[in-house]
Amino acid sequence: MRRSVALIGSCCAALALALAPITSAAGPTVQAQAALRIINAPFVGVADPSLRTLLQGIGARLTWRKGQRDVLITRADHVVVAFTVGSGLYHAGGLTLEARYAPYLHGAEPFLPLSDVLSALSLRGFPDGNVLLVEPLLASLDVRSSGGGATVIAAAGVPLVPTLVARDASSITYAFTGVGSSVSGTREVDAGGIRDVAVQSTGQLASARTLLTVDLARGATALPAQSDDGRDFSLSVIAARGQTPAPPGPRVTAVDVLPSAGAFTVAVAVTGDATYAWHRLAQPDNRFWLDVKAATLVAAPRDDHWIGRVTGVRVDQVTPQRVRVALSLAAEQSVSVIPSATGVRILVGNAIASGSPRAGNGSIGSVVSAVVETPLATPQPAATALLTPVPEPNRPSSVPTNPRLIVIDPGHGGNDPGTSAHGLLEKTVTLDIALRLRGILVARGWQVRMTRSTDTEADPAATTDRDELQARVDDANDNGARAFVSIHVNWYSEPDPNGVTSYYSKPQDVALARDVENAVAREAGETNRGIVKSALYVTLHTRMPAVLIETAFISNPGDFARLDSPQWRQRVALGIADGIETYARENPLPPAPTN
């Protein structure tokens, strides 16, 4: 009988992974459980439903197709973990790690070392007879001060659901039920209204509980906890007025060392915007150091030593303007440096990786960036390397036969409403702006052709999206228009982006796009997001200068109010008309040839 693992429990509660018999559709019976007992390293098959259930429970996803030797697991925090059959190494983001055992193939199905899978997913397993209990871990804790306060941000291998358990004027405590911790301890902050942050893991497995307590400075106020992405925990604190401000410049508020079987992590918490640079020496002097520039060390200096792949971690204010985090490595392990808004994490893999980059730099805070200073192994695509040439499409341009004709294309229409918000439809807004634009242009002596002038498709007989868009393109191409203007409304899944953007595809579009963009931004008082080249159907296939203008973001509250305003739409129409006229004035057509 084949045995495998079956998941018991759900996310946010302790997860239980039980070794229980299930029927396999692939191949013969396997004595997996017996083998696990012998080698003390459980494996799990990638086709095992219980693994899928576990991954689903923590918001991770497995990518594997029958016959493939590579297994990719995308964690909920967007890091991809890659295992390969027969390889003792696996990869997690920028890190190369050594697996306890190499994955093996049984039939066509890869079996992965369960301990490494759990480690890669910030989970911890506890054997209990035939049952492996799995506990998600609080894996990171950052404190970031900004303005007159500070924010505590915690993240785990599962979505965090905090419960307020205690609150008074001097402290606030939240509990995460079913979650353990790899960041336990007390971190002194003493800034932004926070004295310190303490993490304490309590309870037994299956009833694990982690308490996060924030000690507040006198007069500070804690706002209700939130989640930025539906997974993490975020608690903002407002400092009392008149409280001693934090010293200027970035500050290193904590350095946490988190040894684990997978990545050895050094988490450096930095408040404020900072830049950093890192270096590492080659074998045999395997030292690594990271300098946070123009920073003050607020946390206590440390000089710790271990036996293992990282033999020492030293944190010091090496100059008045520089905080150094230095690691002594036992060998040439792979190291990954990951900046974030709240600090930088140094991850040391357990696999030897000679030839790794020797230096890099980056920034922390409101601008997050990372640069590896050695040449990348991945070359840019070279035409000479292609096996099969990919022909570039031939897109003819044309001289307009009707130089006073402008084709206006109100986006969407009929059965295609486009985007929408609060009952306001894109197709309605675009048609209204287009009709207003038509009136302005006609009054200025232009001829105007509309791809649609009512709430209908441009080609009601079109059966495909392409046919519908091609009908709009044909309207302009067949009538020899001077310019083509497609009017749209933008949308994004987050509310922040706002403003007007003009998209173009062909070189002859650039001037028109720029003139329309600038005029609309000026006339309508919108944020000018600039012109953007893209492979949009209508701008690609029209033969004359064309622009697709995304007038505003319906997903942005401010922009939505503007889109809902007839006065604002009139100003947009006026802006587009001004842009077309500027373009026509500055780009006169060559004189028509005489017979």
């Binding site: 990518t63 590579d70 990719l72 995308t74 925090d77 967007h78 890091v79 991809v80 890659a82 390889s87 190494l89 990869h91 983001g93 920028g94 993240a155 993490d232 792979s334 974030s340 808004a341 696999a351 030897i352 990786a353 000679s354 030839g355 997050v368 990372a370 590896v372 192994a377 991945t378 840019q380 695509p381 035409a383 390397a385 096996l387 099969t388 040439p389 990919v390 570039e392 499409p393 969407h412 295609d416 486009g418 985007t419 392409r466 749209h488 933008n490 949308w491 994004y492 899944s493 982006p497 998209y503 997001r529 080249k533 893209s534 492979a535 949009l536 159907y537 697709l548 995304e550 973001f553």
Partner: protein, 171 residues
């Protein structure tokens, strides 16, 4: 007794072979690095992050390895950069169902969640970064996007032309 001696000799030889392999054959892994692109929240400029990937395995053809690289790159790209990096991201739940290579064209098959969006901002940023990432894999010059195994002309309510391979020069 002879059998026992033979067994001892065999064990000793195996141990010597293992030591020789450890000392002389097993070489440190040199990680290959892969550049993955994302589009910043200005909707047009690109950022990158670097990931490590495995080496080509013994017995693996170059075509197989390139196919793996293309899949790995696509999965990383669709997953996006770390959570705290502001980036134009694919709609939640979007994943790569498979990548196949047809000469210099990578056929990237995305799940249907990618269609659950509207707005040029998102689709432009997402596919720009995907194309830059895939064409950073040696030998890949263009990307043909499919959704659920089917080629789309555009995304529903979308404007980007998807029924032809996309190239870096499209941006």
């Amino acid at each position: 007794m002879k059998a026992f001696r033979a067994l001892i000799v065999l064990v000793v030889l195996a141990a010597i072979a293992y030591l020789v392999w450890q000392v002389f054959v097993r070489t440190p892994a040199r990680p290959r690095l892969l550049t993955v692109y994302y589009t910043k929240m200005d909707g047009t400029s690109l950022g990158t992050w670097t990931i490590s990937q495995r080496q080509r395995q013994a017995g693996e053809s170059m075509a197989q390895y390139r196919s793996y690289e293309a899949l790995y790159a696509a999965v990383q790209n669709v997953a996006g950069p770390p959570s705290d990096v502001p980036a134009v991201r694919f709609p939640a739940g979007t994943h790569v169902d498979g990548v196949t290579l047809d000469g210099a064209i990578a056929d990237v098959d995305l799940s249907s969640q990618v269609t659950q969006q509207s707005g040029t901002f998102g689709e432009n940023g997402q596919f720009k970064a995907l194309v830059y990432t895939e064409t950073a894999v040696p030998g890949i010059a263009a990307v043909q996007v499919t959704v659920g195994g089917r080629r789309l002309q555009t995304l529903p309510h979308g404007n980007l032309e998807l029924d032809a391979p996309l190239r870096r020069s499209d941006w």
